[in-house]
């Protein structure tokens, strides 16, 4: 299981879950794919079968399945460079399609307390949008059951909108193109029932007769270090603690005023490294207490490292705290001192944290 991509996509899943989906019209335009669209999907299915069964295809998919989101989103489009897709790309350039975008993405299943289906892909302009910039996107929808988890297949799409405009809500309803039971072809609609496009999904998650399945597509930002990808979501483990507070007894003198710009990282059992605050820091002076309230799932141990952010010379460590389950009692709070003293001859540095164990041996 690729836990990195799970925790990164969880941030988008949280945004999707926090939004109120609009009411859906009771009626919608009937969607009948044109002969050209049928040809594209038929060829897409054939190309995918050829590619995914090839040694090169298997190796590339295995590599992508282990990537994080930034790496995967920039690599997914490279799949289309495989010769298996040459005829498909040629058809997109020559057929008279009633579409402005063609999308290609890998599909994933994720267990984030709720089950999600995700499509991470790239959309390129075709037809009237042929010369427009491509876009990278992430589509999320809820699913009732996770069969396999991880990367499970692929989705091709033909869209009326330009690549940069395929984001937002959509509702899909299965249509029969006679391409076989192992694939799902679906018309995609707006809330008002207008046609957005159609998709062909191969592998995982197909539900016969699916009707009005909601999903939301994020157009991924093009700035480096897309902020939504900093991990926040934590998979459940056996034990649960809260770093209830951090106390500054004495700041580190960094030559930039009397305060330290404090943040900490935490890592449970050597797994994903998280930051708190996720971005930025809290200014602390000697005597200050930060009621940070950061909860952490863990099995045996949590390593907490605190830093004073320093834009000019690199962040300075101000405290390392090692928490073992054997140090804690359920419901009790314990104060931890740094395992390393960062004081110097002329500068005393002292931070402590308070930790409360709130759950033990949780059945997940």
């Amino acid at each position: 299981m690729n836990t990195t991509i799970n925790t990164q996509i969880a941030n988008y899943a949280g945004i999707y879950q926090s939004m109120s989906s609009p009411a859906v019209a009771k009626s919608k335009q009937p969607y009948t794919p044109t002969d050209a669209e049928k040809k594209v999907f038929t060829e897409a299915k054939y190309a995918w079968e050829t590619y995914s069964k090839s040694a090169a295809g298997k190796a590339e998919l295995k590599t992508i399945a282990a990537m994080d989101v930034p790496a995967a989103r920039s690599s997914v489009g490279d799949i289309l460079d495989n010769p298996a897709f040459a005829k498909l790309l040629q058809m997109l350039n020559t057929l008279d399609l009633p579409a402005s975008s063609f999308s290609f993405g890998v599909t994933m299943e994720l267990e984030l307390i709720l089950g999600f289906e995700a499509v991470l892909g790239v959309a390129i302009g075709i037809g009237d949008s042929k010369n427009l910039a491509s876009s990278e996107f992430l589509t999320l929808g809820l699913t009732e059951g996770i069969d396999e988890g991880g990367l499970v297949g692929v989705q091709f799409g033909l869209w009326k909108n330009a690549p940069a405009d395929i984001g937002g809500y959509s509702w899909s309803t299965e249509i029969d193109l006679g391409l076989g039971a192992e694939v799902e072809v679906a018309g995609s609609y707006t809330a008002s029932g207008g046609i957005l496009g159609a998709t062909l999904t191969i592998g995982g998650g197909e539900e016969d007769g699916a009707d009005e399945e909601e999903s939301y597509t994020f157009i991924l930002g093009n700035q480096e270090g897309d902020g939504y990808l900093k991990p926040v979501y934590q998979p459940r483990k056996n034990n649960f603690l809260i770093i209830t507070s951090m106390k500054c007894d004495s700041t580190q003198s960094d030559g930039a005023g009397s305060a330290n710009e404090v943040y900490f990282t935490f890592q449970a059992d050597g797994d994903t490294l998280y930051h708190y605050p996720t971005y930025d820091y809290l200014s602390m002076e000697s005597g200050d207490t930060w009621n940070c309230g950061r909860s952490v799932w863990f099995n045996e141990t949590v390593q907490v490292n605190a830093y004073d952010e320093d834009d000019t010379s690199g962040d300075d460590p101000i405290g390392n705290f090692t928490i073992n389950i054997s140090d804690l009692t359920l419901g009790g709070t314990k104060t931890f001192n740094s395992t390393k003293d960062y004081s110097t001859t002329f500068d005393t540095v002292k931070y402590t944290i308070n930790v409360k164990l709130v759950a033990q041996n949780v059945q997940n």
Binding site: Q223, Y233, F240, Y279, N291, V358
Partner: protein, 118 residues
Amino acid sequence: MSKHSIQINSIYCGGTSETGHDEVYLVCQADAGLPIHIPSGINTANSMAKGDTWTFDKIILNFEYEVLVTLWDRDVSYDPNLATYLQSNDFQPGSGTGSIQLTNRNGANYTIYYTYID
């Protein structure tokens, strides 16, 4: 799995972290699970100046052990990496109605008003 619920009623701004307004949004994370963004949507925030109250229609947070509510000031709309951390509060099981004042050394001064439902 949720056993407890808390309703966030409103947030009062007694001071901002920068001159003028903070562009405030919340990230609420129950039991370290999915981070919920308030207001809903991408890169959304609520502009608040000293004396403003942000009243919520019905924000109910369900949790088993705790829910961490973090206040942020959105500095640029396209990159959350540049958001300013204002403060946070971790709500654990409780009862009744209350408020919690959160401050930082940049001048941010916000009070969260809440009601425990279960």
